[in-house]
Amino acid sequence: MADGLTLDRVSITRAGREVVALDRHVAPGEVLSVMGPSGVGKSTLLSLITGTLAPAFRFDGRVLLDGADISRAAPEARRIGILFQDDLLFPHLSVGANLAFGLSPGGSAAERRRKIAEALEEIGMAGFAERDPATLSGGQKARVALMRMLLSEPRALLLDEAFSGLDADRRDQMRRLVFDRARDRGLPVIMVTHDKADADAAGGPVVTLGG
C-alpha cells in the first residue's frame, strides 16, 4: 500500500444511520480539502482519524497510515497531528513548556531546550520560551500551536477549520506556513473548511460532503 493517509471505504454511522462516508487516498505532501455545510460530519470524520470518535458512533472500513492499519490504535499511538480553530495552548504552561509537551521524548535537557529555541526562531518568536501563552497575539498563538504539533513528529496532519479564527492577513500567512511545512516534511494533510479560499490556497483536490 502506498505511503500517505488512506481512508479505505470509511463509513461512520450513528444509531444505524450513516453520518459520513469517504474513500480516498491522500499522498505525502498533498492537501485534501473537505468542504460542506456545517453538520455533515466533517469534524466527526477527523475524530475517526485521530481515534477520538465518541462511543455513540460506529464505523466500517479502515484508516491506513503509510500502509499500516491504525483504525483501532490508541490516539496517542497514531502520530496524527491536529490543529483546531482555537489554538488550545495549555494555559498552565509557558510557551516553551507547551512546545516541550509536543516535542517527542528523548535527548538531554540542553538538547531539548535547543530544539525548542530553534522551533521558536523558525516561527519568528525567538526568546518567547518563558512567556505566558495568554499574553500572545492570536497569530502568535496559532504559530505556537502549529510548532507544538510539528515537534511531536506527526506522519499526517489534520486541520479542523484551523484558519477560521484568524483575520485576513494572518490567515494568508498562516496558510503558507502550514502548507509549506507539510510539503517539506512530506505530510499528507486533510483540511476541513467552509472557506473556499482555504481550499484554493491548498491547491489540492476538494471533496464536498453532504452537497
Partner: protein, 576 residues
Amino acid sequence: MPIRALSDGGGPVPRTGLVAAFPPLTLLVMLGPVAAGLAGTLLPAFGYLPAAGLSTLSLDPFRSLLDWPGLGAATRLSVSTGLLATALALAAVTLLFAGWSGTRAFRVLERLLSPLLSVPHAAMAFGLAFLIAPSGWIARALSPWATGWERPPDLLIVHDQLGLAMVAGLVAKEMPFLMLMGLAAMGQADATRRMRVAQAAGYGRVAGWLKSVFPAIYAQIRLPVYVVLAYSMSVVDVALILGPSTPPPLSVQVVRWMADPDLAMRLTASAAAMLQLALVIAALILWRAGEWAVARLGQAWIARGGRGRAADQLLRPLGVVAGAFSALAVLGGIACLAVWSFAGFWGFPDPLPNGFDMRSWARHGPEAWQATGATALIAGIATALALILVIGCLEAEYRRDRALTQAGLWLVYLPLVVPQIAFLPGLQTLFLTFGLTAGTIPVVIAHLVFVLPYIFLSLGDPWRAWEPRTGIVARALGTSPSGVLWRVRLPMLARPILTAAAVGIAVSVGQYLPTLLAGGGRVATLTTEAVALASGGDRRAIGVYGVAQTLVAMVPFAAALLIPALLWRNRRGMHG
C-alpha cells in the same frame, strides 16, 4: 513505529482502564453506610438487638415510644420547624433572585456566599443566639434608650416553645446554600434572555422573573430544596442550641435516648428514628403535592397575563431585606462570638465589653487546639479520599462519554435527603458489632457519606465544562489518557479542585451527629466540643470554640483562592 492492533469492535477502543472501578466503589462508600445504618436502625426498632441480648421481634419499642408524653409536641415541632424553615428560605431566595439578580447588590451577596456557606451550623446557631437573646447584642444596642431595660428582660427568645429561633437560624444558614444552587441553575436556564423577553412584554421584574425564569430554576434546585427540608426537620446541633428543650424536636430526643446507659433505651431511640424517617418521607410527599398545586396556580396566574409592575415596589425591598437578614445573622453572629471570646467584664446593657483580653483563649485555647487537630485530621482524610473517588468517577464518566443520568443524580443526593438521625444510630450499632469502637476511622467513614456528595456537586460542573478538544490535542501529541489527566486536566482544574476540597473540609468540620454517634461520643472535634457547651452557657468558652470552628472551616476557602493566585501568577489564562 509499531501500531498496537487491538481487538475489533464497532467503535474506537474504549480506554477506561482502572477508572471504571471508581463509580461502583464510590456508590458503595457513599450509600453502603446509609443502607447498613438504616437496617441497623430498623431491626432494633422492632426489638432485635443481639448486642444487648435481645433477639425477639416485637412492637414494644414503638409502644414505649407512644408512652412518652412528649411525643406529640416533639413530632409537631419536627414537622412545623422543618416545613416553615424550608418554605421561608426558598421564598426569600426566590425574592432575592427575582428582584435583584444581575444587579450590583446581588453581586455583593454573591461574593459573601463562600464565607456564609463555610460557617458551620453550630457556630452560626451560637452566633444567632448571642445576637437575639434577651441579653444579646440586639437588646444591648436598643437598651436602655429605646427599651428602658436596665437588666436583660425575662423573655424566652432562644429555645422558644414554637421553635421560631431555630427556624430563623435554619433560614439564615440554608439561604446561601439555595442561592448557590440557584446560581448554578441560572446559567443553564438562559435567565438573562428570558428576562429580556418578559420585560420587553411589559412585565415587572419580580412578576416577569417568577413567570419566565422560576419554573426552570426550580426544576434545577428541587433536589437541594428536598435536602434543606429533610435536614431542617431532623437537625440536632442547631436544635440543641436554638430549639425548645421540653420537649425537644424528635431528633434531639433520639440522641438523648441513644446516650442512655440503659441499652434498652436504644430500642426506643431506634423506633423514634424510624418515626423521624417516616415523617421526612411524608413531608417530602406533602411538599411534592405543594409543588403540583403551586404549578397549577402559577399557570393560571401566567394565563391571566397581569404585568405585576406595582408589586416590585414592595417585593424588591423585601428581597433585599431577606438577603441582608441571612448575611447579618450569620456574619454578625460570628462577630459577636469573636467579641465574647476576647471580652473582659461585659455588663448589660453595654454594647461592648469594658476591656478585651486573652484570658478566655488562654483558658480554653489548649483544649480547643487539641480538638482542632482531631477536626483537621478527620476533615483532611475524608476530603482527600472523597476527592480521589470523585475525580475517578468524573474521569470514568468522561472516558466512557456517559453523562450522569437523572437517576445517578438522585443517588448523589440520597445521603443528604435521608435524615442523619435515621441511619447513624444503626451505623453506630454496626460499628460496635464489628469491634470498631470509637476512634478516627468510623468517624471518617461516616463523614465520607456527606463529604462525597458535596465534593461531587462542587467539582462536577467545572470538570464537565473543561474543553474536550484540549484532551484530543494532548492525545494527538502522544499522551496517554492518564498523562492527559495528570499533566493537563488536573493542573488546569486546580482552582475548582481546591474549592471542592475547601467545601469538603467545611462539610466535615460542621458535622455534629456523625462525629458524635460514629465516634461513640469519644472523638472530640471542635463541633462536638462546642455543642457540648450549649447547656452550660459559658459565653466566653462558646466564643472561643465558635471562632475556632469557623476559622478551620474558612481557612481552606482562603487557601483555595490564594494558592492558584500564587501558583499561576504568571498565567493569565488560568484566572478566567
